[in-house]
Symmetry: C2
Subunit: 124 residues, 2 copies
């Protein structure tokens, strides 16, 4: 798979894929005779996982650390598990906050509806 196809299938731009490689988030892929990147299918799952970490608020530096550990193989299993557990705790808190904010939104929307009903028909 060339970089353009990876871009199409992951939603990341070609520039971002090369940038991720430069900072160590994606392992440097093989090159063909012309010096172009040729990716294996596994990159798709990995990029998807990175996006999930990203979307749930893990910082670049931590994702880079995780990626580096992953490339070092089985000796880093424990460290990686600990990182995931720590991130899981962060997500749990965010979930909690989001649920609270959700409830607040519901509350505010209800209040606005009441106020709108009052102000939109002042001629009772």
């Amino acid at each position: 798979m060339m970089i353009g196809e990876v871009s199409d299938r992951t939603g990341l731009s070609v520039d971002t894929l090369r940038f991720y490689e430069k900072i160590g988030l994606i392992a440097p892929p093989m090159r063909n005779d012309a010096g172009r990147r040729v990716y294996g299918n596994d990159v798709l799952g990995w990029v998807g996982f990175l996006e999930q970490l990203n979307a749930t608020g893990m910082k670049q530096a931590d994702r880079i650390l995780y990626a580096r550990l992953r490339q070092q193989g089985d000796s880093t299993l424990r460290a990686r598990r600990e990182m995931l557990e720590a991130h899981r705790a962060v997500i749990r808190e965010k979930l909690h906050l989001m649920q609270q904010t959700m409830a607040l939104m519901d509350h505010k929307v209800a209040i606005y509806e009441t106020l709108e009903a009052e102000t939109e028909t002042p001629q009772i």
Copy 2:
């Protein structure tokens, strides 16, 4: 309340409070004889709400828009309700994604635990 106390009670830095005023997120407060900002208690609730919008991913530009509508009074009730409803939809999606990622974390942690048990006692 002087700006330092607002900072202490909201967790935002003094610089950030002044910055928020400059960009229109916080209404310019009264000034005392020496020209210093004197805030009412209502700023605390407002800043707290801003933080919730922030933490749930609303962009600065949208928060500024909401703040501007709020300062315009009752004629903007409908617009504000619509903004909150839109943001509520965004939060709902994020909640969903977070729950999925949470499940994935659980799954991965379990896998790591299995692998660790295998690699840590290779001498069975």
